[in-house]
C-alpha cells in the first residue's frame, strides 16, 4: 500500500513525466524520416542542405524493412520529409505501406507535386496528414527564402487539397526576421484553407548555417513571437520548438518543453543514417545506421550517442540562472552550429547570454562546425538576403 501526500514528488506530477522522457523510451514516440535529398527547390535555410539525390539512398525494400521495424517498436506516427519526398517514385507505395502497418504519416512538402489528381488520391487516404511549407504570406517575402515561384506553387497545392476535400492539412512556417510581422496573416491564410498553422524555429542547420545570422529573429522579435503565441496561438502548433522562450514569462508554452533528440524522437536520413534530430545532421550527432546489424532498433536502444543523451545533462554555464528550469538551456543544434559549447547558453537566450557566448566562440581559434552531407545543387547562385 502506498500513501502519497498532495505535494509534488519526483514520482508524480507533470515534472516527473518530463524527467522520465528525458531518460529515453524503448522506442521513439514519433520520428522524422527524410526520404530523399533530392529537391526541386533550394531554400536558403534548408536544414538538410538538399538538392541532389544521394546515390546511396535506401531502396524500396530497405525502406519497407525500416517500416517493419517501426511497426514492431509500435511507433505511432512518422514525419516524412526530405528534400522533397514526393520526388521518390515509391512515395505513395511507402506511405501506403506505413499506414497499412499502423504507422500514421505526416509528410512535409513544398507542394510542387500535388496536382488535382494527387490531391484526390491523398484525400482518399486515412491516417495521413500533409504539411505544406511556406515562409511568407506574399510571394516577395516567401520567394526570397524559398525561390521564385515557390509561393504560387504552395498556394496552388493548398487549393487542390481544399478542392479535393482533404480536410485539415498543416501550413508550416519557419519564423524569420522578415516574416515575424506576418503571423496574423499566416493565421488568416490557414483559416481560409481550413488548415492548421504551424510556426517553427529557424535553426542554423544545413544551409541555415550560412543564412542564420541574417534571418533569425531579433531579441525583440522573439518576445513578439512568445507574446503572439500566448495571445493567439491556441490552435497553432510549434513543434515545441520555442521552449527556449519560456524564460520570458511565467506561462510556459504548450508542449513537453524539452529537447526530444535521441530521447523520444530522432531522424532517419535518406541513406539510412540515424541522427539525434533533423537539425543536427553531423557526425557529432550520428547514432548509427539502419543498415548496421540490428537495424534501427539496435541504434535506438543501444547506440553510444543516444545512451549519452539519455543521461542527466549538465546545466553547465546556465546552472546559476533562475530561468534554466523554464528554458532547459535551449537547443543543442542552435548552439552547436554557432560554435557555442553544448552546456553553454542558447544563441538566442532571452537574457542575452547567447550574444556573449557567440562573441567568445568567434574569438576562439576554431570556426564553428560546418554542416555535413551537403546535397546542394552545384553552381548554386546564392539568394542574397538584403539587409533592410
Amino acid at each position: 500500500m502506498t500513501v502519497l501526500d498532495n505535494s509534488p514528488s519526483p514520482t508524480s506530477g507533470p515534472a516527473a513525466l518530463v524527467e522520465q522522457l528525458k531518460g529515453g523510451l524503448d522506442a521513439p514516440i514519433c520520428l522524422t524520416w527524410e526520404l530523399t535529398y533530392a529537391c526541386n527547390l533550394e531554400c536558403v535555410h534548408c536544414l538538410s542542405s538538399s538538392g541532389r539525390r544521394d546515390p546511396r539512398e535506401l531502396d524500396t525494400d530497405e525502406a519497407k524493412a525500416v517500416l517493419d521495424e517501426l511497426h514492431d517498436l509500435q511507433v505511432f506516427y512518422i514525419n516524412i520529409g526530405g528534400g522533397e519526398p514526393m520526388i521518390r517514385r515509391d512515395f505513395f507505395e511507402l506511405v501506403e505501406y506505413s499506414i497499412s502497418k499502423g504507422i500514421g504519416v505526416k509528410f512535409s512538402t513544398n507542394g510542387a507535386f500535388i496536382d488535382a489528381d494527387k490531391a484526390r488520391r491523398l484525400a482518399a487516404m486515412d491516417y495521413l496528414d500533409i504539411q505544406i511549407s511556406l515562409d511568407g504570406t506574399d510571394a516577395v517575402t516567401n520567394d526570397a527564402v524559398r525561390g521564385d515561384g515557390s509561393y504560387d506553387t504552395a498556394i496552388e497545392a493548398m487549393q487542390h487539397l481544399r478542392d479535393a476535400g482533404f480536410g485539415e492539412f498543416k501550413i508550416s512556417v519557419v519564423v524569420t526576421r522578415h516574416n515575424v510581422d506576418q503571423l496574423d496573416e499566416f493565421k488568416a491564410l490557414a483559416d481560409t484553407y481550413g488548415a492548421q498553422l504551424r510556426i517553427t524555429r529557424l535553426r542554423p542547420s544545413g544551409r541555415g548555417a550560412d543564412s542564420w545570422h541574417d534571418l533569425h529573429p531579433t531579441q525583440a522579435q522573439q518576445r513578439q513571437i512568445y507574446e503572439w503565441l500566448l495571445a493567439k496561438g491556441d490552435d497553432v502548433l510549434t513543434g515545441d520548438s520555442f521552449f527556449h522562450l519560456n524564460a520570458l514569462g511565467e506561462e510556459p508554452l504548450p508542449g513537453l518543453n524539452m529537447c526530444g533528440a535521441g530521447r523520444v524522437v530522432c531522424l532517419i536520413d535518406p541513406i539510412g543514417d540515424v541522427y539525434a534530430c533533423p537539425f543536427v545532421i553531423h557526425d557529432e550527432f550520428k547514432a548509427g545506421s539502419v543498415r548496421d546489424p540490428g537495424g534501427f532498433s539496435q541504434v535506438w536502444k543501444h547506440s553510444d550517442l543516444f545512451t549519452e543523451l539519455r543521461e542527466p545533462q549538465s546545466a553547465g554555464a546556465c546552472a546559476s540562472c533562475g530561468s534554466y528550469d523554464a528554458c532547459q538551456g535551449g537547443c543543442m543544434a542552435a548552439k552547436f552550429f554557432v560554435g557555442i559549447p553544448l552546456d553553454g547558453p542558447d544563441p538566442e537566450c532571452v537574457r542575452g547570454e547567447g550574444e556573449a557566448a557567440m562573441l567568445a566562440a568567434a574569438a576562439g581559434q576554431t570556426a564553428p562546425p560546418r554542416p555535413m552531407m551537403d546535397h546542394s545543387k552545384p553552381a548554386r547562385v546564392p539568394v542574397s538576403i538584403t539587409r533592410r
Partner: protein, 39 residues
C-alpha cells in the same frame, strides 16, 4: 519519494478521511505534435 509506510498522522479527525485518500496523477496528455526535434 514513495515508501510503503502508512502515515499515522491523524491528529485532526475531520481530516482523517482526507489523509486516508491517496491522490495520484495517473494519466497525462501530451500532444503528438508537441515534441521538439521533428518536422
Amino acid at each position: 519519494m514513495d515508501d510503503n509506510t502508512v502515515s499515522d498522522e491523524t491528529t485532526d479527525t475531520a481530516a482523517t478521511d482526507e489523509a486516508d485518500l491517496v491522490e495520484e496523477l495517473l494519466v497525462e496528455e501530451i500532444s503528438i505534435d508537441g515534441m521538439c526535434g521533428v518536422y
